[in-house]
């Protein structure tokens, strides 16, 4: 038996052409986002942003702010509320260098909310009032570069934390940043050749879309909040912590202008709503807190530098990989371990304090995938082998060959005996035309004078951990007596993955109803949560619950259809016959919303008739589930790959991106258009990171210079000029429902470093300092 749930047949699952549940609202502009919430009498709030990269408040005079017409309240860093509520600095999870604070006294990056916030009648009054404060700063030394921050002579940035070093220690394994498997020295000794190289990436940001806001309104004993985030349940819990358990707190999660992951925004799930609530409590008015600068001041990728040492045999067998890195957030070298047979790995990361915003990653980040890509393409280049052959040679799990995985995992656990990487390569290489396009480095000059190059990157396809995550995961289903027939009950943050439609597909097939008859409005606080953003590739975690609850409701329906009941109260009690008298639940089936007798299909009732039958005597068909998946041991057996074709202009250094092909093993495809959306969407984002995304700071002042979409330009339509093709592989090798594997993160992450190999193939030069901007290309070509 497979380790996951299956169905005998699939109807809505995997079918193309179903109408997106959120489509009309988003196309017509009638869907509401947090920024669109306006309440009667609503006030506005904004925060003061520190202009220095590292400075401490010596004195703050807000009298003029408080006296400004239209200002309703001012909240300062030295407010009694902070002491009364035992506010503690909130550590940005375990990955980041930075500590976030509720209005800093000592600001650690230019633009950090600091000192005070103001609440006023209009946003304009807020802006005007913020300029009136008199602040005297003690200017402190700053450092923007992680490598310089760990140098022996570095200025200590946080002496009150550690007077000796900027390197941050938490005691956790992730923070210490090492990962060891096997014996790298032994692996290097057994290698035919050892290469060493450097790889680095600049800081990027999710940049733009819906800038953060939060609306809070006290209504007696109720606190109602509209929060722009992926984990409304966490917001609820935090607000209870600071405003009291006696409050009834309702957090609504509307449509979300893209965030691409919760980790970077974790701090905004905490103090950001708190600020709006403080003002709402003090003014007794609804308050909308606006943080327009948020997407450039936060939400960034990690950045840093790696030094690699790789040992391999002439036939492409990689014997050992060592990676020492300095980063603004933790390196997780796990992808190499999870998805290869490389027996010896050693990775270590130093994470120092620096004076940039808290940075973790979004859409997983380039980090692990960058490591992966560099190792394989480098070894292929050094051995003269095709990168696909090197990939196949080293395919495996946890340092073990795939043949071992076949016999010890796939076969005993009931997985299909198929090879994912082989299937991924077969489909993708053919669609791309790799064999015709691949050539020796720098060997093909096009008629237009540009250099032609191709690149390929492969990786594990991951659902990082299909087991349960941090927060409760709950969902309900109710069969209605009117339309819509089926209503799914859960709060679920919509980040654009079309999870709502996907969940409806699964419920449709599991319950036996039409996809069109299901409604899922995930915005309200129902007391049940499916925290989409709580961890990566959340759908793989959410769907087991949808399956479980659909099956429970189905069982309820069939039991009720075959069970007589009684009506009325004593002494007038009458027998109410079963709707399908004389039959057992197993004699019935449900398809397309019709309950029928298997042996006599003409004996049938619609679900609506069933729900309305003697409704005063029966409880409603409603069930709730909190089921999550648990697996003792997980092997990542699915694979993915992307191919790219580029033209490099040797005069300007520009890289034009032509053909792109994605081939992804998603185990079981539930929402084909949704999968395609992650494929091309992730590719655009990843290649944008690879070619041009980067935050630019003034080294003299430490101030971010390109904090807007004019100067920070991510990929638009014509940044990929050629065709994009997507191949979907369904191997059944995932641990998710029906064998599914998540895809939301992997494309954006994996494709980010794809250009390194393609530019090498075009020019014969390695450029691994990301993004690969024209000046770096020209420098590599010796033109400047």
């Amino acid at each position: 038996m497979p380790v996951y749930t299956t169905l005998d047949s699939y109807n809505a699952i995997g079918k193309r052409g179903l109408r997106k549940k959120d489509g009309y609202e988003k196309a017509s502009g009638t869907g509401l986002y947090t920024r669109d919430v306006y309440l009667p009498g609503m006030l506005y709030s904004k925060m003061y942003l520190c202009p220095h990269p590292h400075a401490r408040i010596k004195s703050l005079d807000t009298k003029a702010v408080e006296a400004y017409p239209g200002v309703k309240a001012v909240f300062r860093y030295d407010d009694k509320w902070l002491k009364d509520n035992k506010w503690r600095n909130f550590t940005m999870w375990v990955f980041s260098h930075q500590t976030e604070q509720l209005l800093a006294e000592e600001a650690n990056w230019a633009g950090e909310p600091a000192g005070f916030a103001v609440c006023a009648d209009t946003p304009r009054i807020c802006d005007e009032a913020l300029k009136l404060a008199k602040i005297e700063w003690e200017i402190l030394p700053f450092e923007l570069d992680p490598e310089k921050a760990v140098a022996p002579n570095a200025v200590i940035l946080q002496p009150h934390v550690d007077p000796k070093t900027n390197v941050r220690h938490s005691g956790s394994r992730l923070f210490e940043g090492y990962e060891v498997h096997g014996d790298v020295e032994k692996g290097f000794a057994e290698s035919d050749k050892i290469i060493e190289f450097r790889w680095s990436e600049d800081e990027t940001t999710v940049a733009g879309v819906e800038a953060l806001s939060c609306v809070a309104a006290f209504r007696g004993e109720h606190l109602e909040v509209w929060a722009h985030n992926q984990i409304p349940l966490r917001t609820t819990n935090i607000l209870k912590q600071y405003f009291g358990n006696h409050l009834h707190i309702h957090v609504h999660s509307l449509y979300q202008g893209a965030q691409f992951g919760h980790e970077n925004w974790i701090v905004y799930y905490t103090w950001f709503p708190i600020m709006a609530c403080i003002f709402a409590q003090r003014t007794q008015k609804p308050v909308k807190l606006l943080y327009d600068e948020s997407y450039f001041h936060a939400g960034g990728y990690e950045h840093g530098a790696h030094n690699f040492k790789v040992g391999f045999k002439k036939d492409g067998t990689i014997m050992a990989v060592q990676d020492t890195s300095v980063r603004a957030s933790a390196e997780v070298h796990g992808k190499l371990w999870e998805g290869t047979s490389i027996p010896n790995l050693f990775g270590t990361t130093q994470i120092p304090y620096i004076n940039r915003p808290a940075a973790i990653n979004y859409r997983h980040g380039m980090r692990s995938c960058g490591v992966w890509n560099n190792v394989f393409f480098r070894v292929a280049a050094e051995t003269g082998l095709d990168p696909h052959d090197v990939a196949m040679k080293n395919d495996g799990c946890r340092g073990l060959a795939m043949s071992w995985v076949d016999e010890n995992v796939k076969r005993p656990k009931g997985f299909p005996m198929v090879n994912s990487l082989e299937a991924v390569f077969k489909a993708g290489k053919e669609a791309f035309g790799w064999d015709e396009k691949y050539h020796a480095p720098g060997a093909r000059v096009l008629p237009n004078g540009k250099l032609h190059g191709v690149g390929m990157v492969h990786c594990v396809a991951w659902s990082p951990d299909p087991n349960g995550y941090f927060q409760p995961n709950q969902m309900g289903i109710n069969i209605q007596r009117t339309t819509p027939l089926v209503r799914i009950l859960a709060r679920h943050a919509d980040g654009g993955w079309n999870h709502e439609s996907t969940i409806c597909r699964v419920v449709a097939d599991e319950l036996g109803v039409k996809y069109e008859d299901i409604e899922f409005r995930p915005f309200d606080d129902t007391g049940l949560d499916t925290p989409a953003g709580e961890g990566s590739t959340g759908l793989v975690r959410t769907l087991p619950m949808a399956i479980d609850v659909a099956r429970k409701v189905r069982a309820l329906i069939l039991a009720q259809c075959t069970t007589p009941t009684k009506s009325g109260t004593e002494p007038k009690v009458v027998e109410v016959p079963a709707q399908f008298p004389g039959l057992k639940p197993e004699d019935l089936d449900i398809k397309e919303g019709i309950v029928f007798e298997k042996a006599r299909p003409e004996n049938r009732k619609t679900l609506q008739q069933v729900a309305n039958y003697s409704w005063q005597n029966y409880p409603p068909f409603i069930a709730v589930s909190g089921r999550q998946m648990y697996h003792d041991e997980v092997y990542y057996m699915g694979r993915q790959a992307t191919w790219v074709e580029v033209e490099v202009d040797t005069e300007t250094g520009e890289i034009e991106i032509k053909t792109v092909v994605n081939s992804n093993d998603v185990g079981k495809c539930i929402d084909p258009e949704g999968v395609n959306g992650q494929q091309y969407g992730g590719t655009y984002m990843g290649l944008s990171h690879g070619r041009q995304d980067a935050k630019v700071y003034d080294p003299a002042t430490g101030v971010l210079l390109n904090d807007n979409l004019v100067d920070y330009k991510w990929f638009s339509f014509n940044d990929i000029t050629g065709p994009m093709n997507q191949c979907i592989i369904e191997s059944g090798l995932g641990y998710g429902p029906y064998g599914a594997i998540g895809i939301g993160e992997s494309l954006g992450a994996v494709t980010a470093t794809l250009l390194a190999g393609a530019v090498y193939n075009a020019t014969g030069k390695w450029i691994t300092d990301f993004p690969i901007t024209p000046d770096k290309v020209l420098k590599a070509l010796g033109k400047i």
Partner: protein
């Protein structure tokens, strides 16, 4: 053609325009009535909205126009509005915050870099964030809400082609695409790429807009 004043609520006596009252008077009144939204009245408010259910476009002007501000007349999605605007006020602010057309987004926060605030004015797609409202007196404007209400086939082809993920930029794309089809009933892929090159989508749904626009073009030809 229906004519509405910013400040007029259908079925009620016309009230004093929100834009005509002073800040002092507004603050005074705000304590006596439900709030600025009900005074503005140009569109239903989102007050008390629980999640999305029952939510309507909101019109709660956060900014009050100064006394003596110029009055302009706009025809938006077929309805006329007379509205007082500040001289420096953008069309984006006027349409979204005074008149409640919330499909008009503001991804780049007024830099004219993203296209999410695109509306169609007198047949041309324009960036409402870089357009002064007082320059638009007498103009005819169409927003995504109006395009949807007119049953334009683009709405359905956008849905079926998955042209949106988070959806924040989608109304801007709808306006640009509709304007393209108004000018060019049979756009080639290059025409669509050129037309939409100024609209940013962080989810990068770009390539799906090509079949969506072309299918809508076919539907228009077939009179659907």
């Amino acid at each position: 053609m229906p004519k509405k004043e910013a400040g007029e609520t259908e079925g009620e006596e016309p009230q004093e325009s929100f834009s005509t009252i002073s800040r002092r008077k507004f603050l005074k009144d705000a304590g006596l009535v439900a709030g600025g939204a009900s005074m503005a009245g140009a569109a239903p408010i989102a007050a008390g909205v629980s999640g999305q259910t029952g939510a309507k476009p909101a019109a709660v002007p956060p900014e009050t126009a100064a006394t003596g501000s110029p009055k302009i007349r706009l025809t938006v999605n077929g309805a006329e509005y007379d509205v007082l605007v500040d001289p420096e006020e953008s069309l984006h602010t006027c349409l979204r915050e005074r008149l409640g057309f919330l499909s008009i987004k503001d991804m780049c926060l007024g830099h004219g870099a993203c296209g999410s605030c695109t509306v169609i004015m007198d047949g041309r797609p324009i960036l409402s964030c870089l357009t002064l409202a007082i320059e638009c007196d007498g103009k005819k404007i169409q927003t995504a809400e109006g395009i949807a209400l007119s049953k334009h086939p683009l709405i359905e082809t956008y849905i079926m082609n998955h042209c949106m993920q988070c959806g924040y930029c989608t109304p801007g794309f709808i306006c640009t695409s509709k304007s393209l089809l108004d000018r060019n009933p049979d756009p080639a892929e290059a025409d669509i790429r050129d037309a939409l090159a100024g609209n940013l989508c962080r989810c990068a749904t770009y390539i799906r807009h090509i079949p969506a626009v072309q299918q809508a073009a076919r539907a228009l030809k077939e009179g659907m």
